[in-house]
C-alpha cells in the first residue's frame, strides 16, 4: 500500500463535478511544489546543503528534486557560504540572469551578515547586492534548518500574487538595488 502524500488543494468552491479557485492560488501551489533551486555554494554551508539533498534529508520531498545549475531555469537562488567582495558582482550577475519569478535564500551566517568574517574583503551579507527573501541562521545551519528555510520559501511562493513583478512595492525594492 503506497503512502504517497498529495498536496492539499487550495481553498475554493467545490461542488458536484467542479472546483473553483483563483488562478493565483492554483499557480502558487504548483510553483511552491516544483521549485528549482540554484545552489550557489562557496563554503561549508554548501556541504550541509549536499547533506540536505542526499536521501537522508531528501529535499526532493518538497518538489526540489531538480537542481538547476543554469540561472535561466532556476526559481530559487540558494546562497550558501562566504561571499567575498570580489564575488559580489558575480552573485549579482547570477541573480540578474534568473527569470521571474525568482526568490533568494541566504543560508548561514556568512551569507546573511558576513558571519565571523568582519573584514574588508568580505561582503557583510548578500543583501548588500541582491534582495533576500529568507535568511537561515546557523554556522553552518543543520539540514533541518535549511529545510525549514526552504519551507518558508514555499509559504511565500504559495501566498504571492502571480504578478508580483508588477507590484510597485517589488519594483521599488528592485530599484533600491539598482536593478531595472
Amino acid at each position: 500500500m503506497s503512502d504517497i502524500k498529495l498536496v492539499d488543494a487550495p481553498a475554493g468552491v467545490e461542488g458536484a463535478g467542479f472546483f473553483a479557485t483563483s488562478i493565483d492560488k492554483a499557480v502558487g501551489m504548483a510553483r511552491a511544489n516544483s521549485l528549482w533551486p540554484l545552489p550557489f555554494a562557496t563554503s561549508c554551508c554548501g556541504i550541509e546543503f549536499m547533506a540536505t539533498m542526499s536521501p537522508h534529508y531528501d529535499l526532493a520531498r518538497f518538489g526540489a528534486e531538480r537542481l538547476s545549475f543554469s540561472p535561466r531555469q532556476a526559481d530559487l537562488l540558494m546562497v550558501m557560504g562566504t561571499i567575498s567582495k570580489k564575488m559580489g558582482p558575480v552573485l549579482r550577475q547570477v541573480y540578474l540572469q534568473m527569470a521571474e519569478p525568482r526568490w533568494v535564500m541566504a543560508v548561514g551566517a556568512c551569507a546573511s551578515s558576513g558571519g565571523i568574517f568582519d573584514t574588508y574583503s568580505v561582503l557583510q551579507g548578500i543583501d548588500e547586492v541582491i534582495p533576500v527573501d529568507v535568511y537561515v541562521p546557523g554556522c553552518p545551519p543543520r539540514p533541518e534548518a535549511i529545510i525549514d528555510g526552504f519551507m518558508d520559501i514555499q509559504k511565500l511562493v504559495r501566498s504571492e500574487t502571480g504578478r508580483r513583478r508588477n507590484e510597485p512595492k517589488y519594483q521599488e525594492l528592485l530599484a533600491s538595488y539598482g536593478i531595472q
Binding site: K86, Y120, Q124
Partner: protein, 167 residues
C-alpha cells in the same frame, strides 16, 4: 640538515657582495640578511645562478609594514636551494613615500603573482613588472589593506553596533 652550512653560505655571498648587506640573524636556523633595492636584483641573480648554491626556487615574496619605523615598508624574499636543502631570507626596507623596488620577474617567472599580491596588499611598486594589477582584492579598491593604518573591519557591518548591546 642541508649540505651547505649558513657560515659557508654567508661567506660565499660576502665574497661576492662585500659590505652590500647586513646579517639580521638566524632565527630557527634560517639565515636572514638585509640589503638595499640597488643590490637586491644582483644578489638574487647570484644566488640562483651560482653553480654551488643553486637557489633555484623562489618560495615567496611578501611584505611587512612597521608604522613609525624609519623605513616602514619591507619586502621579503624566501629562497630555497632544492639541491642543497637550504633556505635563505632576504629583506629590503623602503621609505613610505618611495616604495619602488626592481621586479624579480626577470629572474623567476613565478615572481609575477607574488609581486602582484604584495602590490595589492602593501602598495609596493615593482619597477619593470609586466602586469602590475591587483590580484586578490576588488579592482576598484584604492587602499592597500595590509598596511596598519587600514581598518580591518568592514564599516558596513551593523550587527556589532553598540546599541544592540545596550552600550
Amino acid at each position: 640538515m642541508g649540505k651547505i652550512t649558513n657560515e659557508e653560505l654567508l661567506k660565499k655571498i660576502g665574497d661576492q657582495f662585500p659590505d652590500q648587506f647586513t646579517v639580521i640573524g638566524e632565527p630557527f636556523g634560517l639565515l636572514t640578511i638585509e640589503t638595499t633595492r640597488e643590490n637586491i636584483t644582483a644578489i638574487l641573480s647570484f644566488l640562483k645562478a651560482d653553480a654551488v648554491l643553486q637557489f633555484i626556487y623562489l618560495t615567496d615574496i611578501t611584505g611587512i609594514h612597521f608604522p613609525g619605523a624609519e623605513r616602514q615598508i619591507g619586502v621579503i624574499y624566501h629562497l630555497h636551494s632544492l639541491v642543497n636543502n637550504v633556505r635563505i631570507r632576504l629583506k629590503v626596507f623602503l621609505n613610505d613615500g618611495d616604495v619602488h623596488i626592481p621586479t624579480a620577474t626577470t629572474i623567476w617567472d613565478g615572481a609575477n603573482w607574488m609581486e602582484r599580491e604584495t602590490y595589492d596588499l602593501f602598495g609596493v611598486i615593482f619597477d619593470g613588472h609586466p602586469d602590475l594589477r591587483r590580484i586578490l582584492n576588488v579592482d576598484d579598491m584604492t587602499a592597500f589593506p595590509m598596511r596598519k593604518e587600514f581598518p580591518l573591519e568592514d564599516p558596513n557591518r551593523v550587527d556589532k553596533k553598540d546599541y544592540f548591546f545596550g552600550r
